[in-house]
Amino acid sequence: MALDYEVPQDKRLLYWLGDKLIDYRHPVSVVVLVVTAVFAYWGFQLHLVTSFGDLLPQDHPYVRIHNKYSGTFGGANNINIMLEVKDGTIFTPKTLNKIWDMTVALDKVYGVNHNQIDSIAHRTVRYLKVAAGGTMRAQPVMLQKVTSDEEAGAIRRYVHNAENIYGLLVSLDDKAALIRANFIEGRLDYQRIFTEVNENIVTPFQDDNTVVAVAGEPRLYGWVYHYSGDVFFILVITYCLEWVLRWMYFHDWRGALRPTITGLIAAFWGLGFIHLIGLALDPLMLVMPFLITARAVSHAIQMHDRYYEEFEKSGWHKRRAIVASFAELFVPTLSGITADAFGVLVILLVPVVMLQKLAITASWWILAITISEMLLNPIVYYYLKAPEPELVLLRERGAFRKGIERFVGGLLTPVGKGITVVAWLSATVVAFYFLRGLSIGDPTSASPLLWLDSPYNVSHKEIQDKFGGVEPLIVVAEGYDKDAMKDPGALRNMERFQRHLERDPSIGYSFSLADIIRAVNMVFHELEPKWGVIPDNWVDIGGLFFIYFSGSPPTETAKYVDPSYTTAHVTFFAKDHKGENIRRMIKECKDFIVGTEIDDLGVVVATQDGHTVITGVKPEPIWEKAGPSWVVGSVPSSESPFKAGDRILTVGKQEITDAGSFRIALMEQANRSSFIDFTVDRGGQSVTTTVSAPWKAVFKLAGGLIGTLAAANEELTRNDVLMNVLGFSTMYLIMLFTYRSFAAGLYLLAPLALSNIMVNGYMAANDIGVNIHTLPLVTVGLGFGIDYGLYIVSRTIEEIRVRGDLEESVREALVTSGKAVTFTAVTMVISTVFWTTSHIRFNAEMGLLLAIWMAISYVGSQTLTPVLIVLFKPRFILKEAHRVPTLTSMGAPREAGAS
């Protein structure tokens, strides 16, 4: 049937499109269903996978260092297993044999790096044994299982005399032993590791006197996977609850079914697309698909509500009602979907592969709502039987409608408007107060992914309490040439670095090659403590290294130093990974590294009148000219590449503007080359000098869990504000095109901005940090708030064309579209809140956070937006007053006349 009735001329194309969709319902349905079936098939192929590499900003310098050395010096994927005895010590044959068996079992777990296992029962952990004739050799602490108390006593002696074991792998009270293993990143299978550790390492060795605690990133993700089945329980509960709520609201099962179809089709398209582009589902991102599906359902509820309204208006003509609801809601629905999709797309800015993949898939998924909601919607209604007029009339007279009418009546009184403005301003001020505490990174020392009393966090705390710190921060000491690690200066710098950073309260202990050389030197001198120092020449150091490492294959020694002695590492074991603590530790590392380099150059640098000036030159080192460069010499001379009063202009090619830029430039230049170019202003003349660095090795940040988290946090800090600005700008632009008004965006985005502040304030007050997992959810929440306002503003414009009065139009918009918005918001908030029942604390908190976000956005769209419109009377709405749309029957337009 053609459009043989009159429709508004400005929307005639949309009416025509809706009508044609019904005419061509069979081919359109077949195409959509076939494509949906293909996507559904792909969707069912999806697996839960977390790719550790995808969580890291791969171009960040820290991650590059981490990737380069994680295979030898240790990565971020460590498992820490602590065996603790309640009575006695671990130095009994029974307990030592348990440690032996657990170590053997750990060596067999899938993906373990066999050369990076630390345990007193592993071949790589050695002590120095002085043999007959005064020879020494490094021997594994345990060569085999223990058979007698005497052997156990001997092992206790070895441990107590080894600085690299006592306190690190055996607790100072002899009650606990730590077994640490690193996993190869490309072979991380969290579920398999979790199962194998449980079955082969934890369960068989626990008894009344023995406690086994396991922590570390692979274990943490193992627990997350273990709990990921929660999602089915939550989905079933929310599905059933939403069905009942929609059924009660529409008084008809069709009202419950239709939004389900929209949600399902969008979900199949989204999940299939994720598989199509080669991605997998992350168990920590399961809230996201849920949220997008909820949005699809939300748009469908708006459409269904409007369909009922148009059904009555059209004189119970089903086809006209379908076409009218499609055409009238086309603009706000499309704008809302577009704003959501492009709002999420700004996450692409963060150079973290997982977030970029998520931005693409979430945008696609949201855009797929247009297929189910707009393309298929008129067809589905056409196939379904028309609702009975009785129930359409009934719901217009229901208690829900009456309640909304009463609320709107109160809101639009002068007192109501005043209360609204004052309440929003007060809430914003309070939120601003709390907002100051918002942190980038994790705000607690326990893992925020699981609850504080979860088995993982309990184990993590037990290990931290016993051993001080288990989360590694690896700083690589990279030499310019081979044998650099035999340089006494390089080793002393490592030792000083350890002592410097150990003052930080978050550092438990540290370990480096310098510890080995001191211990070996002491053993070599009959354990006299005064010999526990770093020798002052290369020959002695080389000799001691030979003694210690000569009996070990390179695969074992590589975890301390590479075979050419060019590169080693200083590993700090941190007590927690709080965002602020990581920032402080990294800053202290940088301060030490640059401070040492400036000291080694023999200059004193200060800022004078905004310039970076050399204020003093020390007598050491002694410089001499060697060709075009300055090198450290031995013959005393008054010559130096630096003079007091020199104003530093450039280091390398980097211009120096202040002390901060000088420090960064010096560190970067030293990392790049052993020759450093300085350009200084000396008495008005520009002088360029090339200096050969007086150090043999540079410290490079940073590997391990702390290093990679620092990189992720730095990227988030750099992009957080930018993402917010771009997210709001994108939505503003869409509003600009939708309403062809510069002011429209302000009215719609103002409540959203305030909601944003309040939600961030809530996050800060509840110790929820912005991290790689929370960021995408927070950004999605930002986009979702706009939808509610769009329906209200669009309806107000529709109404003012007929009514002419702004306040009356706003009132009608609130009791019609606002009613559906209210119902949508209530159902979404209720269903999202169910996530709080999840064992995964992250999902629970994100569910609650998003529920709060949607609630605040909804309240904003129902109170602040209409009150602002009534108070400020925006032109983009007022100009539509009495502009009753011209009616046309698709052929001969005519004026409908003003009403």
Binding site: F232, W253, W316, L393
Partner: protein, 61 residues
């Protein structure tokens, strides 16, 4: 019972059909009877509603 993908699908499908059955065969007839009873007892709103509903000519094509 641990919920997996397929038993979850079975539960939600079963629940949906249950609601449809409940609506079509129990709730709607009862609701209709209730309004007819109210109208018969002199309730103005119920009378008006039923009058409107009966006069409505649905074009379901």
């Amino acid at each position: 019972m641990t919920l997996g993908l397929w038993n979850s699908v079975a539960i939600v499908l079963g629940f949906s059909f249950f609601v449809i059955f409940l609506d079509e065969y129990i709730v709607k007839p009862r609701r209709h009877k209730k309004w007819e009873r109210l109208a018969a007892s002199g309730d103005k709103e119920a009378q008006e509603l039923l009058k409107l509903a009966r006069s409505a000519k649905v074009m379901d094509e």
